[in-house]
């Protein structure tokens, strides 16, 4: 412990901070003895504590070294790179000012330049010396980040670099169901199932595309300047990028993507999926509803979007949200499943609404029975919904379940 105190003290002295030995030892002792913090962790914590106390943001890091792109094999390293800008992509977020691909003789790598870095813009095709950039890794793929401490120096001589795509994984044709990681460049043979209203000027089209294995959301950037896709038509999409948000995948069509219309009509299928989580919302339009007798659409205030004012027929359904703490899943339960789950027939629901002179009472009664509880559902995924074929409350936990998590926690 004395050794640890001395170590911390000398580290602090390097920053011109003089902390009495007793203070360090008291804090370290408290962490280790009272809070059962392992010594290594305690040492780091005490050091950080006093650094912070004295307003020092720890910046100790070794000076950067110039590396080749192929030498980037770990995250969190500060390096210098001489590289050529091979491609610029649409930033996904306002906090990114530029992103794209840079390359040198050894390979190519993604870069991200943060808006807050306040750095000048890079031009495609130009070569630069990028100083003090930090390497990063996501899902096994490396990138470099340009932040406030980075510098950009244009180079007179062009850096020899392989053309965009060359050092990169060649695109591969995948089925929708095979998309299981973000950041991959793939080809897809799909049919446009649905087009959505675009929510932003930077998006020219968004919607749902699918093949026989399932369907997936797509986004076509306005800047990509690609032809529009038509609902119901089938296409070969070349070089689209996979993306992920809260566990759900999508594909992005950007400037390097290609669209080719197909003669064939691709059949869109859906696979039965399972999801377990807490039921966190019973949405509007759940409970006792009226449907249009012609098109079966649910009515809003007695009006069908397609057929106007109609005499609706009653139905019972649930639109709800399951949430496992990592992602959300919308679920739809038809009358049969709903009746079974909440133990209430359509007739009983009608009766209940009649007595209360309010349809909403059926929804709150359903909420009362289901909200906050844990369920597992199974059924085909269509758009953002799982059309529930089977639903059951998750089994009460057993001691074994607790032990499993306990072991996982202990292993940290």
């Amino acid at each position: 412990m004395k050794e640890a105190v001395d170590q911390i003290r000398s580290r602090l002295k390097e920053q011109n901070i003089d902390v009495p030995e007793e203070e360090i030892s008291a804090r370290l002792g408290m962490l280790i003895e009272k809070f059962r913090v392992p010594e290594g962790e305690a040492r780091r914590s005490v050091l950080n504590y006093f650094l912070k106390e004295h307003g020092v943001v720890p910046t100790a890091r070794s000076s950067t070294e110039k590396v080749k792109i192929s030498e980037i094999t770990s995250a969190g390293r500060w390096v210098d790179l001489e590289a050529k800008v091979l491609d610029l992509w649409e930033p996904a977020n306002d906090s990114i000012s530029q992103t794209g691909l840079i390359g040198d003789g050894s390979g190519s790598i993604k870069f991200v330049k943060w808006t807050r870095a306040g750095l000048p813009n890079l031009e495609a095709g130009k070569s630069y010396l990028l100083k003090n950039v930090v390497t990063d890794e996501y899902n096994g793929r490396f990138s470099v980040k340009l932040n406030r401490t980075s510098r950009i120096e244009p180079l007179e001589t062009e850096v020899e670099a392989q053309a965009a795509g060359a050092g990169f994984q060649p695109t591969k044709e995948l089925k929708v169901v095979e998309i299981e990681e973000p950041g991959r460049w793939i080809d897809l043979r799909v049919k446009v199932v649905q087009l959505w209203d675009s929510s932003s000027d930077s998006i020219s089209q968004a919607g749902l595309i699918g093949d026989e294995t399932g369907s997936i959301k797509f986004v076509k950037w306005a800047r990509a300047e690609l032809p529009d896709l038509a609902e119901g038509k089938s296409y070969l999409l070349n070089n689209v990028a996979t993306d992920e948000f809260q566990g759900r995948f999508s594909v992005k069509l950007n400037r390097t993507s290609h669209i080719q219309e197909l003669e064939e009509d691709i059949e869109v299928g859906s696979q039965s999926v399972e999801f377990s989580g807490a039921l966190v919302d019973i949405q509007k339009g759940s409970g006792l509803i009226k449907r249009c007798p012609t098109c079966k659409r649910s009515l809003s205030k007695g009006i069908c979007g397609e057929h106007g004012k109609v005499e609706g027929t009653y139905d019972l359904r649930i639109k709800a949200v399951l949430d496992d703490g990592r992602r959300v899943q919308d679920i739809l339960l038809n009358r049969e499943t709903t009746e079974h789950l909440v133990d209430m027939t359509l007739e009983e629901a009608k009766q209940m609404a009649m007595e209360a002179l309010d349809h909403e009472i059926v929804r709150s009664s359903i909420e009362n029975k289901l909200l906050g509880r844990y369920f597992s559902v199974k059924g085909p995924r269509v758009d953002r919904y799982i059309l529930v074929e089977a639903i059951e409350e998750m089994a009460p936990i057993a001691e074994g379940d607790v032990d499993d998590i306990m072991h996982a926690v202990e292993a940290i």
Binding site: F35, E41, S45, A278, A408
Partner: protein, 274 residues
């Protein structure tokens, strides 16, 4: 593309939620619809949380209009929830639950800074529902699992020094668990062991709860609400149940988190103000 999807409800123990003090808006901070997040010490980026615990108190603290406040207790501590005129359904349900009772709450975490700089975390309930002990136990396991996952990411995330350049940015970067972890480490200098012990403590108490025969009998109290309170009382007398759990883990958190005591006092001040 957050616009298309609903925000996930994070699973965070009360002990961790209460020690959070870092909120930010995603994307353009000036944009009024930019979602607001609370980043917890283990890196849970919460726009919404899901809690299940014991409601130990609930009061109408409003003036002319009803404004309900409840205290939810889990094995690691307690957190206050609110429901008022803008959450009419939640408020009405909260008003009709007689504590003590197991409840599930879906809500938005709120960060409030007092004039003297103390930060208080509460949850504005979107939905609340009385549940049974089975659900409460499932939640503890659920919260433990998610916390374990975050702790694991934290433990493999590089130390704060390396990330100085960009993780102090108050603008959001694209979300990934590793990035949230990095930001959390940078802001809180998170003592991983503290939260690891918190999870272990919660699991140990859950295991003890499972061992209690009372827990098994009480598998369907939901449809007999009047039996609820009387069933729970014997447990409290054993000093191990939710009623008792409140006092006990609070002792733990008190030593584990020095600010706890202050927070408590401030919470009461706040409630008087509102």
């Amino acid at each position: 593309m957050a616009g298309f999807s609903r925000e996930v409800s994070r699973r965070v123990f009360a002990g961790e939620l209460k020690s959070s003090n870092y909120a930010f808006r995603d994307g353009d901070p000036q944009h009024q619809y930019a979602p607001q997040y609370l980043l917890t010490p283990t890196g849970a980026r919460c726009n919404r949380v899901f809690l299940v615990g014991t409601l130990t108190e609930r009061d109408d603290i409003g003036g002319d209009t009803e404004y309900w406040r409840g205290r939810i207790v889990d094995p690691t501590g307690s957190v206050l929830i609110y429901a008022g005129q803008y959450q009419p359904e939640a408020a009405q349900i909260l008003a009709n639950i007689e504590p003590p009772a197991f409840v599930a709450v879906v809500g938005k975490p709120n960060l409030y800074q007092t004039d003297d700089g103390n930060v208080i975390i509460s949850v504005r309930a979107e939905a609340i529902q009385e549940v049974d002990e089975t659900t409460r136990n499932q939640w503890i396991l659920d919260a433990a699992r998610r916390t374990q996952e975050r702790l694991k990411v934290l433990s493999t995330t590089g130390p704060a020094p390396v990330s100085e350049g960009f993780s102090t940015a108050d603008q959001a970067q694209p979300a990934s668990p590793a990035m949230d972890a990095e930001r959390a480490l940078d802001h809180y200098h998170t003592d991983i062991e503290h939260f690891r012990q918190m999870v272990i403590g919660a699991l140990l108490s859950l295991k003890q709860d499972l061992g209690r025969p009372a827990g098994e009998v009480r598998s369907e109290p939901q449809f007999a609400p009047e039996a609820g309170p009387s069933e729970k009382k014997p447990d409290s007398s054993k000093g191990k149940a939710e009623g008792g759990a409140r006092a006990k883990p609070k002792g733990n958190t008190l030593s584990g988190w020095p600010n706890e005591d202050k927070d408590e006092v401030e919470v009461f001040n706040l409630s008087k103000k509102s």
